[in-house]
């Protein structure tokens, strides 16, 4: 069964079978405002925790979205190329950003659960 984690950088991860689907939280998309472009990662790219994985661009500004854990990109949400506003309308669903194969599942232990994230954003 999939388990969902959160980061203090306002990302969510849904982990199932060693693969994490990653996106930004609803709170984050509200802060960013209307997105007009998402720079997607290359498949196969290896990332360490904290590396920039994706850049999301609103009308006003570009913001980095970091890899929450180590791993390798297995898929990018290409539907965002034609409709970046999916991140605004469905941040935790169809607006997911990328999938990655986890290099070190123990890193998940350092992440927040939903209650912890809610407390973090106050």
């Amino acid at each position: 069964m999939a388990k969902t984690y959160f980061t203090e950088d306002h990302e969510w991860l849904r982990v199932e079978g060693g693969i994490a689907t990653v996106g930004i939280t609803n709170y984050a998309q509200e802060q960013l405002g209307d997105l007009v472009f998402v720079e997607l990662p290359e498949i196969g790219k290896k990332l360490s925790k904290g590396d920039t994985a994706v850049v999301v661009e609103s009308v006003k500004a570009a913001s980095d979205v970091y890899a929450p854990v180590d791993g390798e990109i297995t898929e990018a949400n290409t539907s965002l190329s034609s409709d970046p506003s999916l991140v605004n309308s469905a941040a935790t669903g169809d607006g997911w950003l990328w999938k990655m194969r986890l290099a070190n599942e123990s890193q998940l232990e350092g992440l927040l659960d939903e209650a912890g994230y809610k407390a973090h954003i106050g």
Binding site: V55, K60, A62
Partner: protein, 366 residues
Amino acid sequence: MTDDDTRHLPLEDLHTAAGARFGAFAGWSMPLTYPAGVMKEHLHTREHAGLFDISHMKLFEVSGPGATALLNRACPLDAGALDISQSKYTFFLNEAAGVIDDLIVTRLGDERFMVVANAGNAVTDEKHLRALAEDFDAKVDALDCVFLAIQGPEAWAALARAGIETGSLLFMHGIEPRQNWFMSRSGYTGEDGFEIGLPEADARDLVAKLLEDERVLWIGLAARDSLRLEAGLCLHGQDITPEIDPASAGLMWAIPKDVRAAGHFVGADALRAVLERGPAQKRVGLKPEGRQPVRAGAALFDADGNPAGHVATGGFGPSAGHPVAMGYVQTALAKPGTKLFADVRGTKIPIEINPLPFTPHRYRKG
């Protein structure tokens, strides 16, 4: 700057009640967006009427027998040639002809003018103007008022419904319709619209009336920026700075020919020298290929990879439907249609010189 120095709008409570998201701009806490979001706010302004709180901007009244002469010294302007109620876009220049600030000067009477300046430069402007005023028989008063802009094709109708007739007022004209009010038909969105300086109590009354009208929506600073960028209008500090002269900025239309030739304004000699040799760089519109915005600071290159200039303002144009930008390129590359490349995080994005504005101006000129 510490939090304590942040200035707050007199109508901040109204913005909070309207659900505004605030951010810092030029030392002020300003509404950036409202719940509708920047995209809808932008499009609403172009289709209906957007209400902006621009009380961070500064109004100066310049008056006295030497007011005209003072402004002719402070700005590349023939203040005496302005009709009463006529407004003019102009500048304070430094001795090197760099733009200290861009302004709108309106003649209110024979010896009375209103000067509207940018928030970020208000302190510098006031100091500059007061220092120059010492040589003239003129008085500079910094006004303390709420300043609202209402912009868009339905702005005039919304004001009429709120009891303010604008019928005979044309673009780039300003009047004093009531005591301690200043209203001009102008703005910074490319649309027909008005800017109104007025006492806080009157402002609260006017805002309440305007917001009863479903054609009127509060619009934040984020959409104000995308609107002015599409309209090809410069933001001081970004597209024009004390290091950039009006010729490089493509703003010589604002300086009458006889003033260029014979004016005694600060920076006149330096500006004439620039005009004589021709500016080395020019401000241009830039249209990136594809969907990815190209932002301020991005370096521009020609087809052979040689440096060509830089982006000064960049973002997305909700009405244009594509990314839009302005920047500076070497004069030889400034022709519309010229293809360049912008470096965005290491990727070269094709970008083309585009005529300005990106969306046509719809001013009410007559």
